[in-house]
């Protein structure tokens, strides 16, 4: 029964969302606000349940242990983060954010350098050497397509890219255009499969139930 109620609720909410095809309407807005509220609250619930409560229980179990004592620091930072709501002491929250951003920047730096930049430049394993060369050249053209400054002025004094610059830029833009076209097609396919899944779900459930 609960499943049926859930099914009906789900169906209604899905129809509410599909009503947007006709135009913006209150049903769509209600369903969207409902989605935001529920998803946000669910995230809080999950964090509390799966992170804060265990930590709390952990500290509470052995408050004198070094691990528990050292938790005073992140708790302090967390409290400082809460201070951002108060204008007089909002600067305290900047410190917590600074810690978070600093650590995240360090992690992103190492990860981007070793996880993406280096392997993508050096660790490519093409199927054929020719393919590798072509892919590399096209990759370079793609990177040079984001060049917005000329390397040297022309004889007339205007800063215009050279012919080879313009050629490389054009190739890069072609590659990017094709890439985006392919991505569009792929995304279209994903959307179709999602639509199909949704319709199939309701058909299946409704057929089964009714």
């Amino acid at each position: 029964m609960t499943d049926l109620v859930g099914l009906i609720i789900g169906l209604l909410l899905t129809l509410f969302i599909y009503s947007y095809l006709i135009g913006d309407n209150p049903l769509y807005r209600v369903s969207v606000h409902l989605l935001v509220g529920v998803s946000a609250a669910y995230a809080v619930v999950v964090v509390v349940r799966q992170l804060l409560l265990p930590i709390w229980q952990q500290v509470q179990a052995n408050p004198a242990s070094p691990d528990s004592v050292i938790w005073l620091v992140p708790i302090l930072f967390a409290l400082m983060l809460l201070a951002r709501r108060l204008p007089s002491v909002s600067w305290l929250g900047n410190t917590s954010l600074a810690l978070l951003i600093g650590v995240g920047a360090a992690v992103a730096l190492l990860g981007g350098l070793t996880g993406t930049l280096w392997p993508q430049i050096v660790g490519v394993q093409p199927a054929t050497p020719l393919q590798g060369i072509v892919v590399a050249l096209l990759t370079i053209c793609t990177l040079l397509a984001f060049q917005f400054t000329a390397l040297r002025p022309r004889s007339s004094g205007l800063w215009q890219p050279a012919m080879w610059q313009r050629g490389v830029t054009a190739v890069g833009r072609i590659v990017l255009t094709i890439t985006f076209g392919a991505l569009f097609a792929a995304l279209m396919s994903t959307g179709l499969i999602l639509l199909a899944e949704r319709l199939n779900f309701f058909l299946t459930e409704l057929v089964q139930r009714f």
Binding site: L52, I101, L117, A127, L138, I178, L183, F184, G191
Partner: protein, 207 residues
């Protein structure tokens, strides 16, 4: 005011460099502690974000009489209440709410993606009369039809191989090159931004 800003800058630089050292030189205990603190703060930040969302919509509800904000507030409070109820009674109301409300809504929104993508693709040339738009549309058509034909059995056997080669060429050469360039570009941007953050040049936290 300068001292307050300096503290934040010092914190960011200090902990960032500390993390770098710990990760590079494999200082396990230090990296675990710092990463733990950062993860904890990230979770706390998520909670604070949701709380802020709640307060904002509460304000809208009572000041502007915005019913939609009321729906949002009610939904948040409802989930909180369900979580409390689950804690008290051991039920699983939250999951029910998730399965009955959040899941269908997210799926429905995602399923509309195809419709709007198709609409945008069809009207592309209406809005932009350029060769690039034509190339984009042609590529999308080729890829869509190619995958569809290759997946299906509508394509004659003789045309299968050429179509497959075309599709694979586009996928394995052009698209791969383009995406690799994008990946490298994004990685470079991330690298530079991280360096600026670690050097204290960028201070998004002091706003």
């Amino acid at each position: 005011m300068k001292l307050k800003q300096s503290i934040a800058i010092f914190t960011a630089v200090f902990f960032g460099l500390l993390t770098l050292v710990a990760l590079l030189f494999n200082v396990s205990g230090l990296s675990s502690v710092i990463l733990g603190w950062a993860s904890f703060l990230a979770a706390i930040a998520l909670i604070l974000g949701v709380m802020n969302l709640l307060l904002v919509h509460l304000t809208r509800l009572f000041k502007e009489q915005n019913l939609y904000s009321g729906v949002l507030v009610l939904s948040i409070l409802g989930v909180f209440a369900a979580a409390v109820l689950d804690g008290l009674t051991g039920s699983n109301s939250v999951n029910a709410l998730f399965n009955w409300v959040q899941a269908p809504l997210e799926a429905a929104l995602a399923s509309l993606l195809a419709v709007f993508l198709l609409l945008a693709g069809v009207q592309l040339l209406k809005r932009q009369h350029t060769g690039w738009a034509v190339l984009f549309s042609v590529t999308a058509v080729v890829m869509l039809l190619g995958q569809a034909l290759l997946t299906s059995r509508l394509l004659p056997a003789g045309l299968r191989q050429p179509v497959n080669q075309i599709v694979e060429f586009v996928q394995n050469v052009v698209v791969t090159a383009g995406l690799r360039g994008l990946l490298i570009g994004v990685a470079l941007g991330t690298l530079l931004l991280s360096l600026r953050l670690l050097m204290g040049v960028e201070r998004p936290y002091n706003k």
